[in-house]
């Protein structure tokens, strides 16, 4: 009884102190984002325009979609290192299906999505059934895919008119419907403003948010991430949810790969190098948004946007391109410190 009594007074005493820190934790990152926007609007001419905004969105669309996939694996306390190579595999596969096999855009998209789901399934089975640690399983998958995507073309990029290993020439072309995904822009008050990839990003982000926050499946995934044993004892099929998380990650990565292929219009073997690191960074920056200190769809989207805004603003202020990675790294480190120091302190006072 005495325990309980002191508990109440404790929390009451702490209440006023906690709110200040709580506000800092909750809205600190969003405030920073708003500050950045205001600063760039004033300092960089032309930053505050619809085209600039769309450009930012477009630059983060593919990373953002991949990052949302990573978020799912982070939610179940896993990690997916293979998303970057899944995306580039989808890029190569879609090019192969249309250019070499001369099939339709729909076939290319379906093939990529199925491949993404399969990769996720294999990742999930490796982790759940074979008990391979998540980082190692997906690292292995990453290497495997980097190698695999080069084999059918003997390591060359895919474009119309290329020589195939058999000696004949590839005559297929990228279907116009497929290129539409990467190049069309919808009218939105201004003509030809919003690219398809941005629309897809927004839709995917909303779907992920709804799934993770509002459905019981999302809730159970978070429960697994918090305490796998407790979740299992509460009747959750832990293995199934983990596999599903990796499959979602694989599918979203291949969506990113499709958009990349549609933008490039060729199966470029060398593109997509930065996808993994950028998207993981976005998901981790997302921890700091709203101070939840856990993976979340809203935070991931904001995290991706944050990096995009910062880079665009700096570019418009003539910062050289080679500083970009440094800036991303700095943002990530600051966000992580923010997440773990501040929320750690809050957690510490509770225990």
């Amino acid at each position: 009884m005495q325990d309980d009594a002191t508990d109440i007074t404790d929390t009451k005493d702490m209440a006023p102190k906690k709110t200040m820190v709580d506000y800092a934790i909750r809205y600190g990152f969003l405030t920073l984002l708003a500050g950045l926007l205001i600063y760039f609007s004033v300092a960089a001419e032309g930053f505050l325009s619809p085209y600039s905004a769309v450009f930012i969105f477009q630059s983060v669309a593919i990373t953002g979609i991949l990052a949302l996939g990573v978020t799912f694996t982070l939610v179940v306390d896993g990690f997916d290192l293979s998303i970057g190579s899944t995306a580039t595999s989808a890029l190569m596969l879609s090019a192969y299906v249309m250019v070499v096999l001369e099939m339709s855009a729909v076939a290319a998209v379906v093939a990529c999505l199925v491949m993404g789901a399969l990769i996720g399934l294999v990742n999930g089975l490796l982790i759940v059934k074979m008990k391979v640690p998540d980082l190692l399983a997906t690292l292995g998958m990453m290497f495997l895919l980097i190698g695999l995507q080069r084999i059918p073309t003997e390591g060359r990029s895919i474009a119309t008119g290329m020589k195939l290993p058999g000696g004949e020439t590839a005559n297929g072309t990228f279907a116009p419907e497929f290129l539409w995904l990467g190049r069309n822009r919808f009218d939105f008050f201004i003509e030809n403003l919003i690219p398809v990839s941005v629309v897809i990003l927004v839709i995917v982000a909303i779907l992920c948010w709804v799934f993770l926050e509002l459905t019981r499946h999302g809730r159970l995934m978070y429960a697994i991430g918090s305490n796998q044993r407790a979740a299992a004892l509460a009747g959750t099929n832990v293995n199934r949810y983990k596999i599903i998380a990796y499959m979602i990650s694989g599918v979203l990565a291949s969506v990113g790969g499709i958009l990349l292929a549609a933008r490039l219009g060729r199966g470029d073997i060398a593109s997509g190098n930065n996808l993994l690191l950028d998207s993981v960074a976005a998901a981790l920056i997302g921890f700091a948004v709203l101070g939840v200190a856990k993976p979340n769809a809203f935070g991931t989207a904001i995290g991706a946007l944050f990096v995009g805004i910062l880079l665009q603003g700096l570019t418009m202020m003539n910062a050289p391109y080679y500083t970009q990675d440094f800036v991303k790294g700095a943002v990530l480190v600051i966000a992580l410190v923010f997440t773990f120091v501040l929320t750690g302190r809050r957690g510490g006072s509770n225990h």
Binding site: H217, L220, A231
Partner: protein, 507 residues
């Protein structure tokens, strides 16, 4: 013998508001094996951790041959002559290294022991050490290739390299077979003859009969009994450790209704005796027994976590063979697992999410969680169990231990079940919370069958209509909790004369 090697006086230790050790006075003598007994949560491990430098003591002194020591780290304790062999065998050895390196590991880790490995020298020293301990293994063999018992012996031999004055062994035989244990005892005899004071933690009757010179019983953070007159009064020691204060909670006995769960010839482990048992609706059955008696394994079988080695289960008249907890819950069997930290609490989740976790499907339409209904359910549970919090959106980490326990129990009371199993529901809670939880379990018992797994006699007598005693994976006693012959129950718990009484009890 006259002068104690180790003297502990007035030792206390609290974690937050939880007083784990409430003033321990204990002497340990050179060349003697002192067996320490205590139920889960009595404070045994905390006592060991304080002595071996893992936790600092709050108050009290630890004297080694008359000299006060205050080990702040495990390595300081080792230097002072206190070595500990932990329960988990693999904590004591490095499996990938060979036996020689393992035996000499502490020498290797010492600062200033040279940069390069002197392989031959190490092996020679290791062989000498192994020989002196009667350890017959090839020192070049990796430890991972050794049997469990040999690993244990290596860990102990390694500890002996420090020429300890006090050796602490925490349930060292828990994963050993009888013959393996016999080898361990031979080694311990040697240590005893060498004048080492040994503190041995175990519940196994056979261990204690074989090795103990003295028994010390612990309960609720206090030493409650010392037994050093030969022959050792093992029964009294168990008695003291379980405690049997009179129950002041009044029970209104329930008449049992129709059978809910029937076990027929169920074997908990392959080769273990067959158990038959019926649990009826409206009654609360306590299953008691020492650690390792098979309580938790039986719970695991009922909840679909483990397959029985033999026999059949019937639930509400239909065959019952749960494949998973999810399946068990669907069939109307709920289980509140023991040890809420690892098995119950969802950290960083609020109370609502913690309470609704198993039943989300019932709060969802088309997979979308109906948050209002969910919060309403959580508020009901909070009021029902008198959980102290500000609201149902509090993070579970902000609650005290007793209230967290109420949350994980309230979770399983929040929906009706046919059979509710509670494994150690009073673990780590104070007397007030224990009463609250116990009352709530009994109040709601109508309409379902309830099984409570508990090892403390007080708890069992507070909660049960019927008491079933398990020892060595078999039922050794069954009692109505009315005019209970506590002596007999305790004797059965301890695994004494359970066999001859069985016939009478069953009738």
């Amino acid at each position: 013998m006259a002068k104690a090697a180790v003297e502990i006086q007035g030792l206390t230790k609290a974690f937050g508001t939880n007083n784990v050790l409430r003033g321990i006075d204990l002497e340990l003598y050179s060349g003697e094996v002192t067996v320490l007994m205590g139920a889960n949560g009595a404070g045994k491990s905390t006592l060991v951790k304080v002595i071996c430098g893992v936790h600092p003591a709050d108050n009290g002194t630890l004297k080694m041959h008359g000299e006060v020591i205050r080990p702040a780290t495990p390595s300081e304790a080792i230097r002072a002559g206190i070595v500990t062999v932990h329960q988990n065998i693999n904590d004591g050895v490095i499996p990938d290294l060979d036996v020689a390196s393992n035996l000499m590991l502490d020498t290797l880790a010492e600062p200033g022991s040279g940069f390069f490995l002197k392989r031959r020298e190490i092996r020679a020293q290791a062989r000498k050490l192994a020989a002196s301990m009667g350890l017959n293994v090839d020192v070049t063999q990796p430890v991972s290739e050794l049997a469990l018992a040999d690993r244990q012996l290596v860990a102990i031999a390694r500890a002996m390299a420090h020429e300890p004055k006090l050796m602490i062994l925490d349930e060292p035989t828990s994963s050993l077979s009888a013959t393996e244990a016999a080898r361990l005892f031979t080694l311990l005899d040697r240590l005893r003859d060498a004048g080492v004071a040994i503190l041995y933690i175990s519940h196994r009757t056979s261990d204690i009969h074989r090795i103990a010179d003295r028994i010390v019983s612990m309960r609720d953070g206090e030493i409650v009994g010392r037994f050093d007159e030969k022959p050792l009064d093992y029964e009294a020691a168990v008695n003291a450790m379980l405690g049997q204060k009179m129950v002041d909670a009044t029970l209104d006995f329930k008449t049992a209704g129709a059978p809910v769960l029937e076990l027929k010839d169920v074997q908990i482990r392959a080769g273990s005796p067959k158990i038959s048992l019926t649990i009826n609706t409206d009654e609360v059955v306590a299953i008691t027994g020492l650690v390792g008696s098979g309580k938790s394994e039986l719970a695991a079988i009922l909840y679909g976590l483990k397959k029985p080695a033999g026999g059949t289960l019937t639930l509400m008249g239909a065959p019952y063979a749960p494949k998973s907890p999810g399946h068990a819950i669907e069939s109307g069997v709920f289980m509140c697992a023991k040890d809420r930290g690892t098995n119950g609490v969802l950290q960083d989740h609020n109370l609502t999410k913690n309470i609704s976790a198993p039943f989300l499907a019932r709060f969802s339409t088309l997979s979308f969680v109906n948050r209002k209904a969910e919060a309403r359910g959580a508020r009901d549970t909070i009021n029902d169990l008198n959980i102290i919090c500000q609201s149902e959106t509090d993070d579970i980490g902000t609650l005290s231990g007793g209230n967290q326990q109420k949350v994980v129990i309230g979770r399983w009371l929040s929906q009706p079940s046919d059979l509710l199993i509670l494994d150690e529901p009073f673990q780590g809670v104070d007397i007030k919370a224990r009463r609250d939880i116990g009352n709530k379990i009994r109040e709601t018992a109508k309409g379902r069958a309830t099984i409570v797994m508990a090892s403390e006699m007080d708890e069992v007598m507070e909660i049960a209509d019927r008491i079933i005693v398990l020892a060595d994976h078999k039922i050794v006693g069954e009692h109505r909790n009315l005019d209970l012959d506590i002596k007999q129950v305790v004797a059965q718990v301890a695994g004494l004369n359970g066999n001859n009484k069985q016939a009478k009890v069953d009738g």
